[in-house]
Amino acid sequence: MSKSYRDGLPISPEKFVDQLMRLKRGSIGRREFLGLTGLGLATAVMARELGIMPSPAFAQEGLGDRMSIATWPNYHDPATFENFKAETGVAVEVNVFGSNEEMLAKLQAGASGWSLFVPTNYTISTYKKLGIIEALDMAKLANYDGSQEDPRFTGEGTIDGVTYAVPKNWGTTGFAVNTKKLTKPMTSWKEFWDTAMAEGDGRTMVHDYQLTTIGNALKYFGFSFNSLKPDELAKAEELLLKVKPHLFAVSSDYQPSMRAGDAWMTMCWTNDGAQLHRDIPEIAYVLGKEGGEIWTDFYAIPKDAPNKPAGYALLNYLMNPKVAVKEHLANGAPSTDARVNALLPKEVLDNPILYPAAELLKPLEFGAAATLTDPGRAELMARFKSA
């Protein structure tokens, strides 16, 4: 045969490979994207070109012109970072994460590039044990006033008398219900799981997060949210496997589905509950009366932070009650700081989603470090997801 099949092709094999490589580049992009964000939560990059001269007070400390923060989605007032840039000349790049494990994985791998991040209470001892967070130099945080913090929420930031993290806000893990679709009033995790298999069939979401999904399944039987006992975990697994075929999704990105009406009920964190209820009043936020999770998110600085001075400067800025109050109004999570609560409008303080009644808070448990890192619970979650 004298004629090669390559002759006269409208698209050459080389061009075809080009196209393939273009797809592959796209695929690296999306993996990186999802890797960073867990479930498709956008990484908002707010760093802009330096436009405003740094104010002299900060300029002499050598803050540089940019820094990076790792935090949660919908968690800050964007104006906060703009104002910080206007005052200091430091542009803030915001990286948004889906879970504490992802943050930990990224910090463990090294060179995360963050100068400030927002870990949840139960991870701080692990970060300290791994030696990857900074013992905070409180002299650089003049705006922080430990005496004004509610001690219930601050304890885990301090280990052996050394402060590694200061609180941002606290919150709870309950569930959100679209009361137009599911009209029966609910008050417990038992009702959550039972409804998921009945009226809420095909319309219920649970977190893609072992800590809360397994923890709240344990509450069905009245066990501890943090249980590591094999027999109790076995019962939780039995429940989860039974519920699995009835679920709408296993995902921590539940706001879009709840807003679109695809999902009627979901495990939910305080701030998401407050935002959903604010925009769609028929979506209620329920705390299971058996208990469940209470949490505090902290600010901490990685040991390998590339711009520690800016990290401290931003942290100190965020600890200013006048700044913090705007943060709380934007993200809807309750504050740990009495000075901030004094500035919050009455309707916020009276909002039962943000500040639930004391008897509902009483049975709640803080997640434990061992709960997050336990390999047995990780494997249970994998069996649940692959079932």
Partner: protein, 297 residues
Amino acid sequence: MSAGTGSVFSMRGNVLRHNLLTALLLGPATAWLVVFLVLPFVAITVFSVGERAPEGGYQAAFTLAQYANLPARATAFWNTMVLAPAGALACLLVAYPVAYYLALRAPQRWRLILLALVVIPFWTSLLMRTYAWMYVLGGRGIPALLAYVGIEDVRLINTPGAVLLGIVYGYLPLMILPIYVSLERLDRQLLEASADLGATPISTFLGVTLRLSLPGVMTGFSLVMILLLGEYLIPTLLGGGKVFFIGNALVDLFLQSRNWPFGSAIAITLVAVSVVVLLAANRISTRLSGARRVDLI
């Protein structure tokens, strides 16, 4: 090659220069592959015989425990082994008629434009396109339109059908292009000869067209299938994370439970499976198309 270039000596000089040039041209690609493929692969191999540190991550060890633990992800492997060929097959069924039309039926002057239309969606990231499907299939998309004409409470998103749709949509061009290429080079006289010898259009298609396009079919099939072996985005976004593929298992092991050694063992196993699939596809397509060699990529 032009004759009379001179003595043997200068011929050898040419060869040397030629080799040097080849080495120079291959250098960057080789360096790239060593740094970004070979070294990571070595690292993953080392990880895979290690242990998970108590707080997660990796600690040095020499054990085959991670490989022994592979059955713990048997369901994920099984799901993937079903999804990958099924997705590739669905893709093939949609792609073949399109490729056939483009290569044999479309008017010559439209052909390039139509081909471009097949490729253009690739210019947008798959993530964005899959996100768009989330909204098209979600409660405010098609179900809202159906509710408008009286069909209430239809759920499309987070169903196996949505995952299949996403896969076919996402990988279609990869299937169309190789089939198109093999159909395009089909010698039309063979079709006429077949008809002249009394074959019906159907038997001409089965005996000539389909048979001669098999190398393209196998190329497209293997490409799509290999990419699907690592797929995790589409099941997560359009399947609601309820369907667990090996790609999802890997993401969880590295980013959630931080069991890097086990994740590495699974990654190595996945690479091994992909190689086997590639070799098998190559052998099948070589056999089906007679002795002709087929380049998969």
